[in-house]
Subunit: 349 residues, 2 copies
């Protein structure tokens, strides 16, 4: 029904080859001819068929982005919501500018996710991938490298020498946070881990431990607890930490939302956060500054990262090489009122 390149050619009185050349600038076309073709295109409101084009030139003009989602009807809001959306916004902006789309797919981690990647790759539905939330041992990285499909990741993997990525320097971030707390006099610092398996968990913990070591602060294993990126995870972790016979005077959460959950748990125990106990977050979501108390946290330029990752991927697709292969973003500590000098906490049970 919609017009094809043949219709345009007929109307302009030229061959389809010429129309194609006008469309792609693939050969010199005389100015008057060019004008005639463009006129016909306008008149017919012609737009080349994407599938035919892809079939021929093996480019889809699409980037793949598979979002890890927990399935099920009553899923609680993913807490990294804001970071993801900012990231996506940056990616979209760059992609749109270059005229490529982003094909979004969702899958729970595991075999189902693998199946999605396989289908997208083997079915040639995308030109390359944007990877999010890289894991220490990341099947996706191995698969895409094996298949020779270009990709750029937000985050590193155990062995990240090989592929291009942008990541926040989590080690440095945790050095900043921990130094800040130690400077305030804290020596019993609770540490809530990001979800196990994510590479960022490794880097962050290593930064945390390094500072403890440097200051000769003994490591109490019970102060390190499993956690996650949700409010509930932060709440539960804080509760566990406060039940310890010798609870921490400061707690580091894996992100702002978990920090907010942790704060709520502390407040429920009658503690005043910032005075009786300090809490630090991660991400610096907009609400962090407005929270009660305003949250000390580490700023993560998610939007910029999304844009940069996309730029790198597009460069990889056209040049075949990425200018800066691996980018490590220096985090910035934003000190607010959820952290304060150490104090004798009065835990009322």
């Amino acid at each position: 029904m919609p017009p094809t390149i043949h219709d345009v050619a007929r109307r302009a009185g030229v061959s389809v080859g010429t129309v194609s050349h006008v469309l792609n600038g693939s050969a010199t076309v005389r100015e008057t001819t060019r004008e005639r073709v463009l006129q016909a295109i306008r008149e017919l409101d012609y737009q080349p068929d994407a599938a035919a084009r892809t079939l021929r030139q093996r480019r889809t003009g699409t980037l793949g982005l598979v979002r890890t989602i927990q399935s099920g009807p009553h899923v609680l809001a993913e807490a990294s919501d804001h970071v993801f959306l900012e990231f996506l916004g940056g990616a979209q902006e760059v992609a749109a500018q270059e005229g490529v789309g982003i094909l979004l797919w969702g899958a729970p981690p595991g075999p189902e996710e693998e199946e999605v990647y396989r289908r997208l790759v083997r079915g040639r539905r995308v030109d390359g991938f944007i990877l999010l939330g890289t894991r220490v041992d990341d099947w996706r990285v191995r698969y895409l490298e094996e298949q020779g499909v270009p990709f750029v990741a937000f985050g590193r993997a155990a062995d990240s020498v090989s592929f291009p990525y942008v990541d926040v320097d989590g080690e440095q971030a945790l050095r900043l946070i921990t130094e800040h707390l130690v400077y305030l006099g804290h020596r019993r610092i609770g540490y809530i881990e990001p979800p196990a398996g994510l590479t960022c968990a490794l880097h962050r913990r290593s930064g945390f431990l390094e500072v403890l070591r440097r200051h000769g602060i003994p490591l109490d294993g019970r102060l390190i607890v499993q956690g996650g990126f949700t409010w509930e995870a932060g709440e539960r972790a804080m509760r566990d930490l406060l039940y310890l016979p010798d609870p921490p005077t400061a707690v580091i959460a894996p992100n702002d939302v978990a920090a907010m959950g942790a704060i709520a748990a502390a407040q429920a125990r009658g503690l005043k956060v910032g005075r009786d106990i300090s809490v630090v977050g991660f991400d610096d979501i907009p609400l962090a500054a407005y929270w009660q108390p305003p949250l000390t946290t580490v700023h993560q330029p998610a939007r910029w990262i999304g844009a940069e990752v996309t730029r790198m991927l597009l460069a990889l697709l056209s040049n075949g090489a990425v200018p800066r292969k691996q980018v490590l973003v220096s985090p910035e500590l934003r000190v607010r009122q959820s952290t304060g000098p150490v104090n004798q906490p009065t835990v009322s049970i």
Copy 2:
């Protein structure tokens, strides 16, 4: 490089037609042959080329979703973040289940957005569209109807008889909110509008005004102020309202984030929200319940809506008809502590 259907056919010792039939179940194939073909497919890790398939059968297996984004480097976080993500999550879940992808594109409203739709439609890149944030006079609705492209919207338009949508009953929502406030004794109620142009602004205002009328509360035009979905918009609007010689005792914000901004502005003036002044939000984002004070708001089941919209669109694409063409979701008022009985506010200037 990757195997084609011919490779599979050769390996299985059959014709390409037979392989295609096995793939699509388009003809009866003898069981033993079928098995041989499947075996070859497995061995080669074959996956039909999406472009070739699309070219032939005129289906892309992709739904289009164009997100309205404000461009520019320093854009403040879109405040409807959470709602959008939940919506997207629901849509993705259903789409993934049916094996279709979501092609995401971003564009600022205006000619650029039109160009994006045009390219996607005329280039046959998607089978249908999911529309978000419908406007009273929505060019997209007109264009898609004119082009005969299937779509389902989250939200209505001025004339919504014609197209399928899911929407929250904003009129009813504002009736609930306003009745709640009037019941608490409020008669001077400030109203912060959603961004102008959006259809939801119309419905909501109409619900608000209806209840005022019903209770014989005179309408003071200065209590209705332009607003938006951001923290800043809420903050500014509240500031303006409090500057009035006779400020309101309650304020209705267009969403939770704006309500939080409004609360901050009120607190900055020394008011205790819930006692000196009441504030109501919209959306019921997860943080609303944990806010200080916990926010009275209207719950919006964004995830379900995203899923439902997608289900409707998929039905439209396969059957050609949608079971329930238009769905109006009844909102639920969640009363928390940001609203309370009217009080003589003591505005300290």
